[in-house]
């Protein structure tokens, strides 16, 4: 127990890296998600196919395999990034496929009349999507996007096996120097909960704020 209170700064610094990882990879995931979702509904068949291949490949690979491939495999080709950048790219790219699928289901939940009205006004595919369909689609998928954010906070722990010193890795490090796994991992779990538990309430708040009356 004392191990935890003597090393609160260790948990703090781990949490800080975890939060940075989460924020940057979530931004990347939202960008990737919007682009891929657009590709998957666009008129050009090759782009639709490319989006499908990307989603099916990345989503069906365990993120740990992706991270190991990126960190230990890619340097063999002479391309090398820092651990932090690698983790952000992999987590963002992986979460992006889920964001894309959520957005796609959101797009199909927008009433047909909306797109029809936009198209009758002479809007093109891009304008329709950007000004009419996507803004409504994003509003309907706020709950899944919130769940994805919570999942992302938890998935940042996958950067621990490659040695990036975020919360889980910090706990492991502390456990190596002063073994007391039960309390150390309990404290780490509690720290994660401080971040993930309020996310549900936050999601509901955002959902209410941006809700469209239909």
């Amino acid at each position: 127990m004392n191990v935890v209170f003597d090393h609160l700064d260790v948990f703090g610094s781990g949490l800080w890296i975890t939060l940075q990882l989460t924020a940057l990879s979530y931004l990347l995931a939202l960008g990737v998600g919007v682009v891929v979702a657009t590709m998957r509904v666009c008129p050009a068949a090759p782009l639709r196919a490319a989006g499908l291949v990307y989603v099916e490949t990345v989503r069906n690979t365990p993120p740990l395999v992706l991270i190991l491939l990126f960190v230990y495999g890619l340097p063999k080709t002479g391309v090398k990034y820092s651990l932090f950048v690698s983790a952000v790219v992999v987590l963002g790219g992986y979460t992006g496929t889920f964001v894309a699928e959520a957005l796609r289901s959101g797009i199909s939940a927008v009433p047909l009349g909306q797109a029809e009205a936009a198209r009758s006004l002479g809007m093109t595919f891009g304008t329709t999507l950007r000004h009419v369909v996507l803004p409504q689609a994003i509003r309907t998928v706020i709950p899944p996007l919130g769940q994805l954010l919570s999942a992302l906070v938890r998935n940042t722990s996958l950067a621990a096996p490659i040695g990036l010193l975020e919360l889980t890795a910090r706990a492991g490090q502390l456990n190596t120097s002063e073994p007391d796994p039960v309390w150390i991992y309990f404290a780490a779990a509690a720290t994660y909960m401080i971040v993930t538990l309020p996310l549900g309430a936050l999601t509901r708040l955002v959902e209410r704020r941006v809700a469209v009356a239909r």
Partner: protein, 337 residues
């Protein structure tokens, strides 16, 4: 052009979307309608020309990237024959195959346990006694709030110090089960909540108790609706079994890493492992989509609507007995925009 129910027919819809007089028939029509979207017109000659140009340029760019990547791989001797030779070595293939078997075994056992516990939890969250509801909700939120990897570290490092010593297989299964039972519970609950309240009320009106109502009326319908989600979550579970890597339980990823270090082909071994995971998971995802597509069609002889849509219970629809009666099995058409 409309069916007696007032719904546009597929033909009507296709004409509205595409402005064609005669939409294709037969299997071609199914493909045609699946593509039907209001977001854009079917590309005309000029649009097709530009899509062709764009595809050619894009393909050329992709080819360029692939060529550069291959050249770099070659320059770093990653494409040499001896780096890939392990793929043809029967002993190594057997080693990896057993790893895959371990992965599937852990996923299957954990999946079955998590399914059973998740079902009980979901029922518990609707239980008439408040303490049961609180415990079920607390359990669910607890495991959904912490990373599975942390849980597995906790189990692998913490439990032995508490005097609990199990084979690594059961450590992995325990971690996967605790976390996924919470996820399955949420999925089942979504299914239960999506049922029309009339189902529960009708069961109560027939004098069924809580358990009978759940077992005979609510759960069968909820489970059937959530089958696609359950299969998708099973894919996630299978991917998560790769976290056994840190225990270290000798599943596919661990054995892939060992192979890579042993044969000095780290990149190649991870590529093979990733390909195996993709093959297994893509088949499972395909299965999920097939089931989902099957559910959209009402089963022969059962007046069931698609998941999420109330069945054609005329009284429910607010139409009353005097209103027009929807034909049995007339499911609201699946939207495709």
């Amino acid at each position: 052009m409309t069916a007696p129910s007032g719904r546009p027919t597929a033909r009507h819809r296709a004409r509205r979307l595409f402005g064609r007089r005669n939409p294709p028939t037969g299997p071609a029509r199914q493909r045609y309608l699946r593509r039907a979207t209001v977001l854009y017109d079917e590309p005309g000659p000029r649009a097709r020309f530009w899509i062709g140009v764009g595809s050619a340029v894009g393909l050329a760019l992709v080819a360029l990237v692939v060529v550069v990547a291959l050249r770099r791989l070659d320059a770093n001797h990653q494409l040499d024959r001896d780096r890939w030779e392990f793929v043809t070595d029967p002993a190594i293939l057997r080693f990896l195959g057993l790893g895959l078997l371990n992965t599937l075994k852990a996923a299957a056992v954990a999946g079955a346990l998590a399914l059973a516990i998740g079902c009980l939890l979901a029922v518990g969250r609707h239980a008439p006694r408040a303490p049961v509801r609180v415990v079920a909700a607390g359990y669910t939120y607890l495991w959904l709030a912490i990373p599975l990897l942390l849980l597995i570290y906790f189990i692998g490092l913490g439990l032995p110090t508490l005097g609990v010593d199990l084979p690594l297989f059961w450590f992995l299964v325990l971690g996967l089960t605790l976390y996924n039972s919470a996820v399955f519970a949420e999925i089942f609950r979504t299914g239960l909540v999506s049922l029309h309240p009339g189902q529960r009320e009708a069961a109560a009106a027939l004098g069924l108790g809580f358990w009978q109502s759940m077992r005979l009326v609510q759960l069968p319908q909820a489970v059937r609706r959530m089958v696609p989600s359950l299969v998708s979550q099973f894919v996630v579970l299978l991917k998560d079994s790769s976290l056994g890597f840190v225990l270290p339980y000798p599943e596919l990823l661990r054995r892939g890493q060992i192979t890579g270090l042993f044969t000095h082909s780290v990149l190649q071994a991870y590529v093979v492992v990733a390909a195996v995971y993709i093959a297994v998971n893509a088949s499972l995802s395909y299965l999920a989509r097939r089931i989902e597509a099957g559910q959209r069609r009402p089963l022969a002889g059962t007046p069931a609507g698609p998941p999420g849509a109330p069945g054609p219970l005329v009284i429910d629809a607010g139409v009353g007995l005097a209103g027009p009666v929807a034909p049995v099995g007339a499911a609201p058409d699946g939207r495709s925009a």
